[in-house]
């Protein structure tokens, strides 16, 4: 899977690249407007992370260019400008998602995962991992061909872990994923613990291996 990171802040682009790059993803970078235009014309990507404010031009124009080239890459706008107009405009022109800076890398990974699945859902709407099978379309989870019932939050958490496999995820990132900006307002993430405990129990009761590990007391890792 190829990802293009269009971001003028090299440090940030590198962090994103370092986090996402693994056996599944290959990241390329574009630091300027013209750089980005050249790359999208020449190559095919599965997902493009697009900053709005770029030296040499506006990211929205790149998005327009993509559409006029009839390309179907998934696009996630990452912007420092947390403005609603940009968000609406971007989504109208055809961006698939919008994330305002600063964000958790794990959240970005989850969004990338979801955008790629959505774009190619013909062959990818079933996730299989060992004895686990998730049907994204029907939102069902099977362990050893036996369906287990998850709440919406547990399902969301499971997907979050799978899209961040082998990564340490902090409780605060999980809290923000579950309750959005509100999570920011409190320092208390205890409710996450209860959801994860339930999820773990349901999975292990159905015979799924212990892949979800607690690390350092406050972090989690989907170890596969």
């Amino acid at each position: 899977m190829k990802i293009l990171i269009v971001e003028d802040e090299k440090e940030l682009a590198e962090s994103i690249g370092a986090y996402l790059s693994d056996e599944d993803y290959l990241c390329e970078f574009a630091y300027t407007y013209n750089d980005a235009l050249e790359k999208i014309e020449l190559y095919q990507y599965d997902c493009i992370l697009l900053d709005i404010m770029l030296p040499g031009g506006n990211g929205i124009k790149i998005l327009e260019e993509l559409k006029s080239l009839k390309k179907h890459e998934g696009v996630i706008i990452i912007s420092a400008k947390n403005s609603l107009e940009d968000k609406i405009k971007g989504l109208q022109i055809g961006a698939d998602d919008y994330l305002s800076k600063p964000f958790h890398l794990s959240e970005l990974a989850a969004r990338v995962y979801s955008v790629i699945r959505r774009k190619n859902f013909n062959n990818l709407n079933i996730i299989e991992q060992n004895e686990l099978m998730i049907d994204l379309f029907g939102k069902t989870v099977l362990v050893n061909n036996q369906e287990i019932l998850l709440t919406k939050k547990e399902f969301d958490l499971l997907l979050y872990f799978i899209s961040n496999k082998n990564k340490v995820i902090s409780k605060s990132a999980l809290a923000q994923h579950i309750s959005g900006d509100i999570a920011d307002m409190f320092d208390n993430y205890d409710f996450i613990y209860a959801h994860i405990k339930n999820l773990k129990k349901k999975l292990s009761d159905a015979g799924y291996g212990n892949y979800l590990k607690t690390l350092y007391g406050t972090g989690y890792k989907w170890d596969i």
Partner: protein
């Protein structure tokens, strides 16, 4: 252009001159009348007794006349003074009125009416200068807050991403991991303060102007559900009393922020097993949470007035609530009543 002093003095001198001019023929007439009368009475023979009598008559007449003119003069002065004052101070009162209605946050320059009195004209010019100076300083400050928070966004994002990357390091000890986690916590607070400052700047810059009809009741209900994770976590007893379909005109985002900030405030400052009462009527929204003693009502809605290092707040939530209320001419209030902090918004 006239001077304030000269304007009054000129009128008074003119009036006094007028009275003086009128008094000359009056004196002449009365004295000649007495003169003629005496001539007829005494046939020009001026005895000593007659002369004394005449003197008395003349003194009496002159006294009467002088008193009369004095009364004229005085009465005239008083009337004149009144009418002049009223007209004279008119521009002053107009200016005063404009200053009183001046609102710095609106950024509207005050335009004073023309006046032909030099003192007031000077006053108006000085006021205009003072006000435009204030407006530009205010705008600069606003711009600074706006730009600063904007520019901070990117470095904050870099720090966060680097720390999170560091957390992925496989050889971390528990202590190292938790140090990073603590740094991330503090960082998220900075980001939040930054976001709120940006939001305040945006509201002050008259953004989010688009309005729509909003079901305030539904928004409030949704918020309560959203916050349930956090209130349940503290075992808080929520007591709701929300009327249906309270419709307000406003901006969706701002109303959401207003509601969220007030509820967050109540939950954050509640201990375990405490009670929070949320009540919405047609006239007002009241959010009560249990507390021990009254807070400073004057300080509460000011920026950073309530933030302390101990809590996770940004110190901007209530300032935002106030700013949003002001946009819609709602009145935010606080008082302490029977062991409850009572925050209210009057529509």
């Amino acid at each position: 252009m006239k001077h304030l002093m000269n304007l009054t003095i000129k009128r008074i001198i003119m009036y006094a001159g007028l009275v003086l001019v009128c008094s000359i023929p009056a004196y002449y007439f009365v004295i000649s009348l007495i003169w003629e009368f005496e001539m007829n009475e005494h046939n020009i023979i001026l005895t000593e007794e007659a002369a004394r009598h005449d003197r008395y008559v003349i003194i009496l007449a002159v006294t009467t006349l002088t008193t009369l003119f004095f009364v004229f003069l005085l009465g005239g002065f008083i009337l004149l003074n009144r009418s002049i004052s009223r007209r004279l101070w008119q521009p002053f009162y107009e200016s005063l009125d404009k200053i009183r209605n001046f609102d710095l946050t609106s950024g509207q320059q005050v335009i004073f009416d023309q006046t032909n009195i030099s003192e007031f004209a000077e006053l108006n010019i000085s006021l205009e200068k003072l006000i435009s100076g204030n407006i530009s300083v205010y705008n600069q400050q606003k711009e600074f807050a706006d730009n600063a928070s904007h520019e901070l966004q990117t470095p904050l994002a870099i720090i966060q991403s680097k720390l999170e990357l560091l957390q992925q390091n496989v050889s971390l000890t528990d202590e190292q991991y938790n140090n990073i986690e603590d740094a991330l916590h503090a960082l998220s607070r900075v980001s939040r303060i930054n976001k709120n400052l940006l939001m305040l700047a945006k509201i002050e810059n008259s953004q989010y102007l688009e309005k729509e009809r909003i079901d305030f009741s539904a928004f409030l209900q949704d918020a309560v559900i959203l916050f349930k994770n956090y209130s349940d976590n503290k075992k808080i007893e929520l007591q709701l009393n929300i009327i249906h379909e309270k419709i307000v005109e406003g901006n969706k985002i701002l109303i959401e922020i207003l509601i969220n900030n007030l509820i967050t405030n109540a939950i954050r400052h509640s201990g375990k097993h405490k009670k929070i009462i949320i009540k919405l009527t047609n006239d007002q929204l009241v959010i009560k949470n249990e507390g021990i003693s009254s807070l400073h009502p004057g300080q509460l809605f000011r920026r950073f007035a309530t933030a302390s290092s101990g809590d996770s707040g940004t110190g901007l939530g209530l300032a935002l609530a106030k700013q949003i209320s002001a946009r819609y001419n709602w009145k935010p209030g606080y008082h302490f009543e029977k062991g409850f902090h009572v925050f209210s918004i009057e529509f």
